[in-house]
Point group: C2
Chain length 246, copies 2
């Protein structure tokens, strides 16, 4: 299997990709590539190239641009709004969500969030997303936004183009799977936004605000999931429902 | 919310539950319960009691047995056969699978497994499953079996009573979601067994053996999932499909 790394567009000059120290470490030490060996360089925004390691070993030569086949290229957005769990739990959310095809991640503070996130977390999450995208052979790295207040976040991204779902535990709401199987059709393959609450769930005021912003309240069933598992379960359902349409 | 702990049936004598040191630590130090405070004691096999901490604080008095309502009590089995990922990855598989309602976990060594599991892992996984079951308010703790060879395992649990699926990446097989939505009906709510491969996937010989044992080969879609994420994604789909039938 051809390995892939994510590069900054500025690293490209003509047909040459200048490699950075951490990329060189990964290519030469971890993957043990040698001059002439090929790998994929991607810019994380949908462009990717087959490249070959040059003789000097500090740069790579573009062999050809890889043109993405139709479907993957025009895949509609899959946005995750997730309340920050305690500890380093969000690292796992970012990693697993990226594997499952999320395109935008909005970490939020909710009424029942315990965590005031430190400012250097964002860079860490972006690094994790990039690694996970490479591992999962995704050509786009999900965009991760700085943590904001939940109400501010959903007021901003009440997108007319998305089906927006708020997942709430212990409700009588319809199951997310039922809802996406009904809503998503091949003719109407809109984006999907999922909002997932903290341990302890959303407050009733938060649910009211989300309803006003056009969110549909859905359930993930009778199981009680931790805040790190709920996004994975929810994204699995949306990704799978979409695949049934293709 | 009433907290719950798992007890050994031998701890019960008449209406008194003798508490062990680690349970006392959890109840008195972590939860800070006081004499008279109530919690749920469950035996991990489907029985549970509302109990109250006694004045001596080293035992609890049974207040009443909790009778489970129909559905949860007779839920059909959900078995996971999973190739052991490297490192401590299986801890996460056990924890998240338990949240999602797995009833039996069979860790297996497959042709592409790197790991020869150490013997003390099993006790650790059982502890994680117990904690996760308590957190998720599940009355049954999943049973975890000692690691075995994949072929030996599926030869043993080719159950006539289960729908058996082998999840394989990069195949043209039908999607697991499509398959369970077709197979599971309210009249035919059989158990489900899911077999999930290691990083790198099953070998073609393993797939052939599974087919012979009556397994259906299914896909988890075009996403490339790590061995710790694939079980969570697959179990989410089965659990959700079942909920649509209730």
């Amino acid at each position: 299997m051809v390995q892939r790394i994510t590069i900054d567009p500025q690293q490209c000059e003509g047909l040459v990709v200048a490699l950075k120290a951490d990329q060189l470490h990964y290519l030469l030490r971890v993957l043990r590539l040698k001059a002439g060996d090929r790998f994929i360089a991607q810019d994380g925004q949908g462009q990717q190239w087959l490249v070959a390691l040059s003789d000097q070993l500090d740069q790579a030569q573009i062999v050809e641009q890889i043109v993405q086949t139709g479907d993957a290229a025009k895949e509609p957005p899959l946005r995750l709004i997730a309340a920050l769990p305690k500890g380093n739990g969000f690292d796992q959310v970012v990693r697993q969500s990226t594997e499952l095809g999320v395109t935008h991640i909005y970490p939020v503070m909710s009424d029942r969030s315990l965590l005031q996130p430190s400012s250097h977390k964002l860079a860490r999450w972006q690094r994790i997303a990039q690694e996970a995208a490479e591992q999962s052979e995704r050509i786009s790295v999900p965009e991760i936004f700085a943590p904001t207040d939940f109400r501010a976040c959903i007021a901003q991204i009440t997108l007319k183009t998305d089906f927006c779902y708020l997942c709430a535990a212990r409700t009588e709401s319809p199951h997310l799977l039922k809802q996406v199987l009904t809503d998503l059709t091949s003719e109407n393959l809109r984006g999907v936004t999922l909002a997932i609450g903290p341990e302890g769930g959303w407050t009733s005021d938060e649910i009211t605000v989300a309803l006003k912003c056009g969110y549909e309240v859905v359930s993930l069933g009778s199981v009680i999931l931790r805040a790190v598992t709920a996004p994975v379960a929810a994204l699995s359902l949306v990704t799978a429902a979409r695949e049934l349409l293709i």
